[in-house]
Symmetry: C2
């Protein structure tokens, strides 16, 4: 059985690792002892460091939050890169942007390690069910090796280019749309309230027509609920979009493409961060535009 090391056992990494148990022998590492303990309970062999989690020439699947954590996992103290060594494969499921992925691929190649760029879309529940959308940049033997693992995680696996960075580019465009559509749904719910309409009726009436989006149907009802319950269930943290709209606008700036709506959405998520909403559900941005009645 192939060994796979999952680095990062957070909201996405833990269900990802658990989903791989069975077809693969899975080890894992997370900086949090609590997450390592949870992993052990899911059939994942937890390790004391990234270096201990991997085997020489094996596969490391990265499921950490951002570029800094990717670099720490690979090149930090007891990092995975030196332990993987020549013939190793890194499967990058984190969203870090195309430029960062290309730089990473180049550094890893110098050590004989291949990178397959495979950012994922879909939350923890879909990760655990093997129902993710995964957009891949890769080719050749590295892609074949990665595909065994990714096929277990994805309901839709789209190879969108041959090179590391291509998957990140597609994911960046995905996040532009997702982040803008959430913010647009927030504006719609806030304006509906401001105009004296019933926001729930607005969401249900408009979701089916020309104004519809996945995010209006998904986040709209949670935005309406934000006025009725103190804290809606956190299905997708707001700080993901603080990070990802930064990747989107960086990519636009580098490619010299004006993105006025993405830039406005980025400011809205930054306002959410400033308001202390990082760990809340991203639908909470609606309360920035239309505060709940103060009597609650």
């Amino acid at each position: 059985m192939t060994d796979v090391a999952v680095l990062g056992l957070g909201a996405m990494g833990l269900p990802t690792a658990a989903r791989l148990v069975g077809p693969f022998t899975v080890s894992g590492f997370d900086v949090s002892p609590e997450r390592r303990e949870l992993a052990d309970g899911s059939g994942v062999r937890s390790a004391a460091s990234p270096a201990e989690a991997v085997v020489a020439g094996g596969i490391a699947l990265l499921a950490v939050r951002d570029e800094a954590q990717v670099r720490e996992s690979l090149f930090g103290a007891d990092g995975a890169a030196a332990a993987l060594g020549d013939g190793g494969l890194v499967v990058l499921t984190s969203t870090i942007g195309p430029a960062a992925a290309r730089a990473l691929a180049s550094e890893l190649a110098d050590a004989g390690i291949a990178l397959v760029d495979a950012p994922v879309s879909g939350g923890p529940a879909r990760a655990g069910a093997g129902d993710l959308l995964i957009v891949v940049g890769g080719s050749g033997e590295a892609l074949d090796r990665a595909r065994q693992v990714l096929d277990r995680l994805a309901s839709t696996l789209a190879v969108v280019g041959e090179h590391p960075g291509d998957g990140q580019s597609m994911k960046t465009v995905n996040q532009l749309l997702a982040g803008v559509h959430i913010a647009a749904a927030a504006e719609a719910v806030a304006l509906a309230r401001g105009l004296g309409l019933d926001p729930g009726t607005v969401v249900s009436t408009l979701s089916a027509g020309a104004a519809g989006s996945f995010m209006l149907a998904d986040r709209g009802p949670r935005m309406v609920a934000a006025y009725e319950v103190e804290d809606v269930e956190v299905r997708s943290r707001l700080d993901i979009f603080v990070k990802d709209m930064g990747i989107v606008t960086d990519a636009g700036r580098t490619a010299r493409v004006p993105l006025p709506l993405a830039a406005a959405a980025q400011q809205l998520y930054l306002l959410g961060h400033t308001a202390g909403m990082d760990a809340r559900d991203d639908s909470s941005v609606v309360t920035l535009l239309s505060p709940p009645p103060t009597e609650r």
Copy 2:
């Protein structure tokens, strides 16, 4: 048979009037002699003025472009209001915003004329097929009278409030989402090109997932086509959103609701106007963000 006068025989008004022929005796007026001639060919009796088109105490359906044309049709030279008189009914299908509709209702009420606020969503083809989404503010006998006519035009008729302005409020929220989603699709296609991805693949891959919207699926392919053909077919004119994003941001300002994305989208449509794109398909905004290769 009930008489209905359709004022405004443009892209939406003419198929609307033609759809009513049969169940109703339909007269119509447009400032353009060419449109009046087309209407005569569709079984509509064209009149020389709004006043001549209506009968005393009858129904006038307004299908003109904006508030200025609504006011000219009703209160201008040979306007319809004086000819309708006490007991008349105005059915407003144009998008003019909630404040303007309420002011209009108040003025008409002084002359004994009722207003049913019934802005429509859907293009000319759907108007001709009776397949519009119509969001209505109205009540009582006026609503009952209007409903006979609107039922012939709508596949979905949602009475969203009792008062004139309520339909406009819902339509305003609809246009916020539609206008932002079109602009977001344009940013996605432009960024995809800038990152070296195939924009057609991006649109088809992302339309089905969390990044999907009606507008991405509808306008996305036309945006991709904008790089291959000189002028894509005009299915929805860009200047509609120049007008409607103005209504959206006015409504937000009046209700004191910040709308940063709608404001950014409004600027994009205004840039389209400035670039001479008023009469082009609204999908053309993509070329503002990512110009076609100059060799075309």
